[in-house]
């Protein structure tokens, strides 16, 4: 079962920080990481991110789970970079990517999705004048986070069904049944959203008041 993108309850300083501050910190942190090229500085940044995880009391397995999906991409990226530059440069690019994802994962683990939605909706508020629906953008973000475990679950079920019938596991053979199920799920989710009145709030204003 996937643990990517899940809120990890807690009472740490990081958990108590407002979502807006954490998102601003994340943007600043990633900017700094992009500016760092020296491996010693990147090492220091890695240490700081580990300390932040410790402060937030995030279990190591959860922290690792946030970056594990990058594994194959990181290997590919490292190989390409080694062809283009020296090993220090290649390692620097890979570390920047992994640390950025780890930092983003830390924000996700310590922030409720609803709190992030409130921030996104507030930030996008002025765009209402040009027809942007902040509530819709927020809903799409929430559904994206919720969709990760759902799609992982569907893929697991289809894979198990193939195994149970003794079929050889080929990724492309799983693609169509997974896609069909995901589309059916999306259809059912659309009905559920309509039934819960999600489509009725088009002209209703802001997120809940504090």
């Amino acid at each position: 079962m996937t643990t990517v993108g899940l809120y990890h309850p807690g009472t740490s300083v990081l958990h108590r920080l407002p979502a807006g501050a954490k998102l601003a910190g994340l943007a600043a942190g990633i900017t700094v990481l992009l500016l760092l090229e020296d491996l010693r500085w990147l090492g220091a940044a890695a240490t700081a991110i580990v300390v932040l995880h410790a402060v937030a009391r995030v279990p190591a397995r959860l922290a690792i789970a946030q970056v594990r999906p990058l594994l194959w991409f990181v290997i590919f990226l490292l190989a390409v970079q080694l062809l283009l530059t020296d090993w220090q440069g290649a390692l620097s690019v890979v570390l920047t990517l992994v640390l950025s994802v780890a930092l983003a994962g830390l924000v996700t683990l310590t922030t409720r999705v609803s709190a992030m939605l409130d921030v996104v909706e507030s930030l996008l508020g002025p765009l209402r004048r040009v027809g942007v629906r902040p509530d819709r953008v927020g809903l799409v973000l929430a559904l994206t986070v919720r969709g990760v475990p759902v799609i992982a679950g569907i893929a697991g079920t289809v894979r198990d069904a193939h195994r149970a019938r003794g079929a050889t596991l080929r990724p492309w053979a799983l693609l169509v049944p997974v896609l069909v199920r995901v589309l059916r799920h999306a259809d059912a989710l659309g009905d559920a959203l309509a039934a819960r009145g999600a489509d009725d709030d088009a002209d209703v204003a802001a997120p809940p008041r504090s």
């Binding site: 999705v113 809903l139 679950g153 309509a194 819960r196 209703v204």
Partner: protein
């Protein structure tokens, strides 16, 4: 009072409902019928999820075609598959989802969420990832998410079909004990034993309507 007048509806090429007319004001109404008999389509009419091709559906005087927003506030809907109706990643967030646009202060939303979770045995589950709940817990969550908005009517489309016997019994007992008007689509005739009225559908038509014993006998006859 819920009134369905001369409703016909097609789903693609298939006739899902054929000239259905019925009205009811009872507290607990059951809906039974074979798979594909039209009972789920009938249930979806009541929340405005489906607006019929012809005919009219009103709930307490409101038309589902014209007053969709008010109807959805008055009529909560619980689906068969709870996974498909959980929108937010954690339990408390999902229950609060329906209240996000209510204009209520955050503290009041939190109070209502805590209260409804405690009422249905999910106290302490607030921060749990919704997808890690058991099937029964997910259906309880779906029920909480509907009830937190305080609808006057709850329509449930086979809410126990995917559950084991214990969870099915638990959900069934909770549903039967609701103060709200309840319209329950089910195959579980035992659950309907104490209902006020049961409607039987067959091939898109309402073929029987009466007290549970009479309706169940008619249904069993159809299933021979």
């Amino acid at each position: 009072m819920i009134t369905v007048e001369g409703v016909s509806h097609r789903l693609g090429e298939r006739r899902a409902l054929d000239r259905v007319t019925v009205s009811f004001a009872e507290h607990r109404v059951g809906v039974i019928g074979a798979n594909g008999s039209g009972k789920s389509t009938f249930a979806r009419l009541l929340n405005g999820l489906i607006v019929p091709d012809s005919g009219r559906v009103t709930v307490d005087g409101l038309s589902t075609a014209r007053d969709g927003r008010e109807i959805r506030r008055k009529v909560g809907f619980v689906f068969t598959d709870p996974d498909a109706q959980i929108v937010m990643p954690t339990v408390a967030e999902d229950v609060a989802f329906g209240l996000r646009r209510s204009g209520l202060p955050r503290a009041e939303i939190a109070r209502r969420v805590t209260e409804v979770l405690a009422r249905f045995g999910l106290a302490g589950f607030g921060d749990r990832p919704a997808h890690l709940l058991s099937g029964g817990e997910k259906q309880l969550l779906a029920l909480c998410s509907v009830l937190v908005t305080e609808p006057a009517t709850v329509v449930c489309d086979e809410p126990t079909t995917l559950l084991d016997l214990r969870n099915a019994r638990l959900i069934g007992q909770l549903l039967v004990g609701l103060p709200q008007r309840l319209v329950l689509v089910t195959h579980d005739l035992v659950m309907l034993a104490d209902f006020d009225r049961v409607l039987v559908f067959d091939d898109g038509r309402l073929v029987a309507d009466g007290v549970p014993a009479v309706a169940a006998a008619h249904y069993r006859e159809l299933m021979r």
